[in-house]
Symmetry: C2
Subunit: 338 residues, 2 copies
């Protein structure tokens, strides 16, 4: 079956394409009778407007693009869900792309989205992204851009984030208040902002509580395999410090769970021998043994917020509105591991 066009409806009804178009869109200057006829026939023929034609004409696509490092990740999956949900309410569709932590793929995805003519783009950057020309390109094309979670500080645009430093600070301070003194940190790659900020929060909590910062308690997890990174770092940690470490603050739940698994399998009791705090509150952390203390990061709500911010910029097209940075609230979820 060939797609039905306005022209076919017009011919069948012996009226003009113009009138059909206007009738379908409830223009006030079309008679009730004509509207009724047109709508009925359109319905009967299962008419669906050709989106490419509409887009070309109206210069908007009702489509937005999202780029995330990966879809197989509880936090990102939750954000995506929130974005799609909020977008659907405004009749927007979402093109999803993944960078797989690869800068080239991220750049290519941006180009594809621009050429697609999406009305806006949302990105959570790859860990490797250090050059932000592709973000400038988006801005140069006058396409609204919102960064979320993995952002670039130096790019001027709207952003949705959490206060990573503060969240990390609170987590580590909680450990200190509980009496832990030798607190290790499994951090992420050196480059991403969240990794830097969580580390800074960790360090600041130590200093403000008169605990000496010991760099040998900090391990870098940067192999893009959080579970095994956490597992391997836990082994190194114990090999090096033995009993001279009593707590661990891990950059993500997955890293924490890798470590937790190592401790469990090697007779190291949690939290008696070592306490653990993760980051993100993945579902998994509530069912693991022991359940994991972690920082709740409201992904679904973040997704909705990201879309709202983008939508605001889309609507304000041609009017310059100030960029906003929205900070989502996090909270420490205390469970058995501390």
């Amino acid at each position: 079956m060939k797609a039905i066009t306005l022209k076919q409806i017009a011919e069948e009804l012996n009226i003009s394409v113009t009138t059909v178009s206007k009738a379908l869109k409830d223009y006030p200057d079309v008679s009730k009778k004509t509207k009724k006829q047109v709508k009925e026939l359109a319905k009967k023929l299962n008419y669906i407007p050709n989106a490419s034609a509409v887009n070309l004409r109206t210069q908007q696509t009702k489509t937005i693009g999202v780029i995330v490092p990966t879809t197989v990740h509880h936090f990102f999956a939750t954000v995506i869900k929130g974005i799609i949900k909020a977008a659907k309410k405004k009749d927007y569709m979402v093109i999803l792309m993944q960078s797989e932590e690869d800068v080239e793929q991220e750049i290519k995805s941006v180009d594809l989205l621009i050429s697609k003519g999406v009305d806006g783009i949302m990105i959570s950057l790859s860990n490797k992204t250090q050059n932000f020309d592709h973000l400038e390109k988006i801005k140069n094309h006058d396409i609204p851009l919102v960064l979320f979670d993995k952002i670039s500080k130096i790019t001027d645009c709207s952003k949705v984030v959490i206060n990573d430093q503060k969240a990390a600070y609170e987590a580590v301070e909680y450990l200190i208040k509980k009496g832990y003194k030798r607190i290790a940190h499994f951090r992420g790659d050196l480059n991403p902002q969240v990794s830097i900020d969580r580390f800074l929060g960790y360090k600041k909590a130590l200093l403000n509580n008169n605990i000496e910062f010991d760099p040998s308690l900090v391990y870098i997890c940067n192999n893009n395999d959080d579970f095994n990174d956490g597992h391997a770092s836990a082994k190194k940690l114990i090999d090096m410090h033995g009993k001279n470490v009593d707590a661990l603050f891990a950059i993500t739940d997955m890293v924490a769970i890798g470590a937790l698994k190592y401790f469990n399998d090697n007779g190291i009791k949690i939290p008696k021998d070592i306490a653990i705090i993760g980051f993100s509150n993945w579902f998994m952390s509530s069912v693991i043994t022991p359940t994991l203390t972690t920082i709740d990061q409201p992904g679904y709500k973040m997704g909705k917020t990201v879309f709202k911010l983008l939508y605001k910029e889309i609507k304000a097209k041609n009017v310059d509105i100030p960029y906003e940075t929205i900070e989502m609230k996090t909270s420490l979820v205390i469970r058995e591991s501390t």
Copy 2:
């Protein structure tokens, strides 16, 4: 910055739009010199073709739609990843929609995708979908359609599935060989095919091994909250059967983990008192305590396969090619819970 068009390039170079278009696409009938000029200027101006115009003209969008019940689900996230990966290789973009197990949303998503003019659609149906008119509509619009995982048996189209019945059969037979005799089953909703098939496999394994099928050992999990469904059913199971049940085959890992959590919290030893087998091999099942025996369902590979099948149909446009049903291999992953 307004987007650059062919016309602007043509004017700057004092040649025709036609020639610019052909030069950019390396038509053989354009001189090397002109091609070089055009390409250089296009590059300099950061020319990106207007996709809507191209789509309108070529009647294809290089875009495909995917509808899944939810993105926050390890298996679906994995399939999505595979689809996006395979699609990108062929320069296809993926519009992602979620039905949230709601038929209305599924239907609306289909309409949106059709109107968008996507070149093909892939769907994993919601649990509630019992009427398949919207799938027929896709076919009537001559849009290639591939169903995966949650399929409709009566819809005539290409499909990618696993052999749910066989996989379930093997899991239950494995329990029987291990000596378990009172094997419960936590099944899904009555409607979805996977739920039916896994139940049938369970039942058949019992019968073929001379174990009486006891309907009171079968519980239905249909509240769209697998963890709590599993947890609640586990309580009911124990309340009703006490020690007179020694194994559980759950329809998904999440249901299994809900039950596992209940057993763990109530002093019921796994696998001594009760063995558990899940379904899907979510990452979580390898780190839970005890680790979960389950059936591995190759989501990533399935995603790639779904796209390949769809792509074949897109390429064969206007030529009728036979529908295919591809069955992905599953395997039993034996861990501590059995």
